[in-house]
């Protein structure tokens, strides 16, 4: 089991968290439908270090920004979104 060191709750099993994908910038200004759909559906899908958004759904219910290597599953950095 991938263990995630939650800055609030401590080390917890990844099954407590929900994964919401790699981080991507929202379109600035009012987007066209095509731009909005690109934002909805497309994402970087690189093999290597990725910046991701997770949610500690069965814990502190805070959103986390996690830097993880998605081949080795090693986690380098975890931050609570908006600070503690």
């Amino acid at each position: 089991m991938l263990v995630i060191e939650c800055p609030w709750c401590g080390p917890r099993n990844s099954s407590e968290f929900s994964f919401s994908g790699t981080k991507k910038p929202r379109p600035t200004g009012p987007p066209t439908p095509a731009q909005w759909r690109r934002y909805l559906y497309e994402q970087d899908n690189l093999a290597g270090l990725t910046r991701e958004r997770w949610f500690h759904v069965d814990g502190c219910r805070r959103f986390l920004d996690i830097e993880r290597h998605n081949v080795t599953n090693q986690i380098n950095q975890i931050e609570i979104v908006g600070g503690r």
Partner: protein, 447 residues
């Protein structure tokens, strides 16, 4: 000769083992190692002569008419149909490892066509029909067995989806119906269909043409047929870049040197977005592992393929007696192919909820394959905005059963430049247009 199946098999034998137009058949060399038959088996059995390799090694050519990235089922099927249906044989297939080493050798080998959307049903039905004749067409036993496919419903909601699927299937001429617990008990006698079960079985979608095949054999069969037609298969050749000039593909850089080519077809499953990125094509894909496991082999006792969407499990017994278990994709994106203990734990619990009699069975091995998931559980198959760069990707959890039809269709796109009706709903631009397919009949989709 009474049933249409028997008639089809008879006609197929009569037609001879290799299809194709007469010109293509004349052009085609004999497969390396000659034709497989009872006679050749007897001859080699007596003489003790070794079987030669069924595909050959070639030096990397400086240029090809078509380069296919990915030497799995989809890549090799594409190469075969380019040669057989369109006479294009100056083709190179590039594989970074050995052929069939990716998703083609890691899936659970289930073939079926009882999908939910009309687009999906028509597409996978064509694939089942190709599978039915594949052993004879390719002169290679792919061990396709149409044992039937049983999708269990544990709730009113999933029973409603089964009814919906059955009606869509029937409209498209697919043999598919909803059956009750009594009929399920007849098909799988030891399954717990009592109302006391942890997850009571209310009914099931029964799809007799569904079944399983030997996934490696399908890869080898296409490799042998493509090789016989003159296609070059390059193993241990990794693509490191794709050259695009003024919006047109000009070549491919590989670990073994550069190849110039006007056409590149991306058939790389879990790694597909990495290859597409090389050509500057952005994909709505994220890669997730899907784990599977097999038990020790036991005497044959399970005939149909049993699937439970609610419990995220599918069970089948291979010809050599191993029970094959598959599940849903892992809960987060990853390129890791390591198995996990929590997967086996969850899987075993769900299998035993369905079939308590299996509690003494031992797991032999587990593994993971990479699935390139799209937002609508449907593939992306066709041209891209880069001239000469084609994709056959987004195969998620349903790539094996679609291998033959995907190869056939993308070969037609490459050869003729037109998009056949069968794959028109699966174009890359559907995401920008907002015209998603929404295939909820795919595996690994909770019902």
């Amino acid at each position: 000769m009474n049933s249409p199946w028997a008639r089809r098999r008879f006609l197929n034998r009569k037609r001879g083992s290799f299809g194709g137009t007469p010109e293509v058949r004349r052009l085609r060399r004999r497969p390396a190692g000659g034709k497989f038959s009872a006679l050749s088996l007897l001859r080699r059995g007596i003489s003790g002569e070794d079987w030669p390799r069924v595909w050959r090694r070639h030096e990397l050519a400086e240029s090809y008419d078509v380069v296919i990235v990915g030497g799995g089922l989809h890549g090799l099927a594409t190469a075969h149909y380019l040669a057989q249906n369109h006479g294009i044989t100056n083709v190179g297939v590039l594989e970074k490892s050995y052929i069939g080493s990716g998703a083609s050798g890691r899936n659970t080998a289930i073939v079926r066509s009882n999908y939910l959307t009309p687009e999906g049903v028509a597409f996978y039905d064509r694939s089942v029909r190709l599978f039915e004749n594949l052993s004879a067409d390719l002169n290679f036993n792919i061990m396709f067995e149409q044992r039937g496919h049983l999708t269990l419903a544990h709730s009113d909601a999933s029973l409603r989806t089964m009814r919906w699927r059955a009606e869509v299937n029937k409209v498209h001429g697919i043999d598919s119906e909803v059956i009750g617990p009594d009929e399920i008990r007849k098909l799988v006698p030891f399954m717990d269909v009592s109302l006391d079960a942890r997850y009571p079985i209310l009914g099931a979608l029964w799809h007799p043409p569904g079944g399983i095949a030997r996934h490696d054999a399908v890869v080898w069969a296409y490799a042998r047929a493509a090789d016989a037609a003159g296609v070059h298969i390059h193993m241990n050749t990794e693509v490191t870049g794709i050259d695009v000039e003024r919006g047109k593909v000009t070549g491919v850089r590989t670990s073994a040197g550069r190849i110039s080519t006007p056409i590149v077809v991306n058939c790389t499953a879990g790694w597909s977005s990495i290859i597409s990125d090389m050509a500057g094509v952005k994909m709505p894909i994220h890669t997730r592992p899907l784990q599977a496991a097999v038990t020790e082999p036991v005497k044959s006792f399970l005939d149909p393929v049993v699937v439970s969407g609610s419990l995220h499990v599918y069970i089948s017994q291979t010809a050599r007696g191993e029970l094959v278990f598959g599940a849903a994709t892992d809960p987060y994106a990853s390129y890791s192919t390591r198995g996990s203990l929590e997967f086996i734990e969850g899987l075993a619990g769900h299998v035993l909820a369905l079939m308590p009699a299996l509690s003494k069975m031992r797991i032999l091995r587990q593994w993971a394959g990479l699935c390139d998931m799209t937002p609508d559980f449907s593939p992306i198959i066709g041209p891209t905005h880069v001239d000469g760069f084609y994709v056959d990707v987004g195969w998620g959890t349903y790539g094996f059963k679609a291998g033959p039809v995907a190869g056939e269709q993308i070969a037609e796109v490459v050869a003729t430049g037109t998009i056949p009706e069968l794959i028109a709903p699966f174009q890359l631009d559907r995401f920008e247009k907002g015209a998603l397919t929404g295939e909820k009949g795919a595996a690994a989709v909770g019902h």
